[in-house]
Symmetry: C2
Subunit: 330 residues, 2 copies
């Protein structure tokens, strides 16, 4: 399926009404100009057998996740979520009790973030369960943080940790259970959108670009790099990964570094800050840590060469990626 070609095609073909848009297709949300606050709009679909497997993900958590992944797109612009609609395709034979559990999950997340369901469409689907959610949020006018603002020299940060959702997915696939992997299973099945962190980052007027990590750290950083026409260097030794994470990954025969850099569905925020602002930013973060509710770690820097995508170790040695994992080129 030539998905990206298609998206490019429709992006190019359809560009009316652009005077009302700050940002159309091509970022985490579209940004619509308004009087006081701009509006943010994002749509994400989840199809059974493609995005989820009901043998891993119970209905209640599917409901939570379907809303959380959309909330994450609002977080990635520094916005506040307000409303959502849901289109639902229901295959024959689904137990209505399970659908109620799914709505309970959605409703619980909606309550937590004060988002209201304002409409939707429910119909029969000839195959699997299909959910499509459109979320509308707001952000103070002109303050949405886009992907395209990164400049050479900017420090690169992430919230929380990366790779854990992908490790959780691997645990499900390989039927690895136990208390030491519960955290990873939860990261995959019940991601936490970084709404608080996103709003705080927006309010500091210090972040130059932002995206949420849904495709994997290195790919999402590449999106920032492409849109900002810059390159990047990641400090592998700075990446936040726990001893437990590394040992479970190795036990499952996965390179932990590869998982951190390429694992999808983390729904953490990846963002950049001007080099000269970095110390001030880190001091501000320390002061507000409890309110923000997650770690923030500097993991690299933006470089001027737009084709540069580097990963280096402590000594500055390049790490390259091959099919079996990442290797230090010493």
């Amino acid at each position: 399926m030539k998905e990206f070609e298609l998206i490019k095609y429709l992006t190019n073909e359809n560009s009316q009404n652009c005077d009302l848009l700050r940002m159309g297709i091509g970022d985490d949300c579209a940004v619509i100009k308004n009087k006081v606050d701009d509006w943010l709009v994002t749509t994400d679909a989840l199809f059974e057998g493609v995005h989820f497997d009901l043998s891993y993900t119970p209905f209640y958590l599917l409901g939570r996740k379907s809303l959380s992944v959309n909330l994450s797109d609002i977080a990635a612009m520094g916005g506040e979520p307000l409303f959502y609609t849901i289109a639902l395709g229901i295959p024959n034979g689904v137990n209505p009790e399970n659908l109620k559990k799914m709505y309970d999950g959605m409703n619980d997340v909606a309550s937590l973030y004060n988002v209201a369901m304002i409409g939707g469409d429910t119909c029969n689907s000839q195959s699997g369960l299909a959910l499509s959610i459109t979320l509308i949020g707001k952000v103070p006018a002109k303050k949405a943080i886009l992907r395209k603002g990164a400049l050479s020299g900017d420090a690169i940060y992430i919230t929380g940790t990366a790779g854990e959702a992908a490790l959780g997915f691997n645990c499900f696939q390989k039927k690895r259970t136990g208390s030491d992997v519960e955290r990873f299973l939860k990261r995959f099945n019940d991601p936490e959108p970084r709404i608080k962190a996103g709003k705080w980052l927006m309010s500091q007027n210090i972040v130059t670009s932002m995206i949420d990590i849904s495709d994997g750290l290195s790919q999402d950083l590449s999106h920032i790099a492409e849109d900002s026409k810059v390159g990047f260097k990641i400090y592998a030794d700075n990446l936040p990964l726990s001893q437990n994470f590394c040992s479970v990954a190795r036990e499952l025969d996965i390179d932990p570094l590869k998982l951190v850099l390429t694992g999808g569905e983390d729904y953490e925020l990846l963002f950049t800050v001007r080099k000269n602002d970095a110390d001030r930013f880190e001091a501000l973060f320390k002061k507000n840590k409890d309110d923000i509710g997650c770690l923030i770690t500097k993991i690299g820097e933006i470089t001027s060469d737009k084709d540069e995508r580097l990963i280096v170790d402590k000594k500055g040695n390049l790490i390259t990626f091959d099919k079996t994992g990442f290797e230090h080129n010493i």
Copy 2:
């Protein structure tokens, strides 16, 4: 599938943020309060094998229809469409050329109504093609026309004609072709959203309730009646139906009146006007007919008994509906 139970469930369970809403779930669009213009939001999904059959509906027309049916919901509030997002599930084996045709159809309708695509999600679907569109529009603050404003004595009007899309669907099913049924096939495959008429009706400050006819005239009028806590009487002899419509319907062994009253997917507007305003309204309509672009016909009146759902002929005799069609009870 207990669709309506589910919708009721989720409607009741989720009602945060209501101070920002003029209208939540339960009308053609949700209405969000804003400074100058209110925002309208609607979501409609189309699933292959449920809402469309690619042997009747070519990809280009499917693209047009998928956007038009959403535009119709904006028209039914008197609004102006602005933006849309699309979530698309694509099964394996679809020819990319066909998907381009579908986007061409969508883009052509989008251009016609000056609506911009601002985002979406494209992914693989395990079975049929699935499209879900969310459309955002605007309407001057507090001017959205809801379903719930009809009062006893109001005159009931429809734009254009009803039943023709359903007749077209029957022609497709029974492989009835020919120049005399082309109009009906087109009504089914390429409905025209009544954006112009809806905006004009809103601007006259004269319409008390409105809905678009997607479920069939009598069912959609029942939605107005339920929400307004009133009854209705339809004048069967006033219903606009052509001689050609009647003869094709009879040829296919379908009662024409049944088709007009129960056939779905007309996407015409059904609305009410205060009895005392009806003459003034009809004079205004005559003067602006060319701008509005469709017929408007008085087809009945709102009554005070909320359980009343009457269909009467010219002489006031009741017409009742049974499994084989409508019958005059003389």
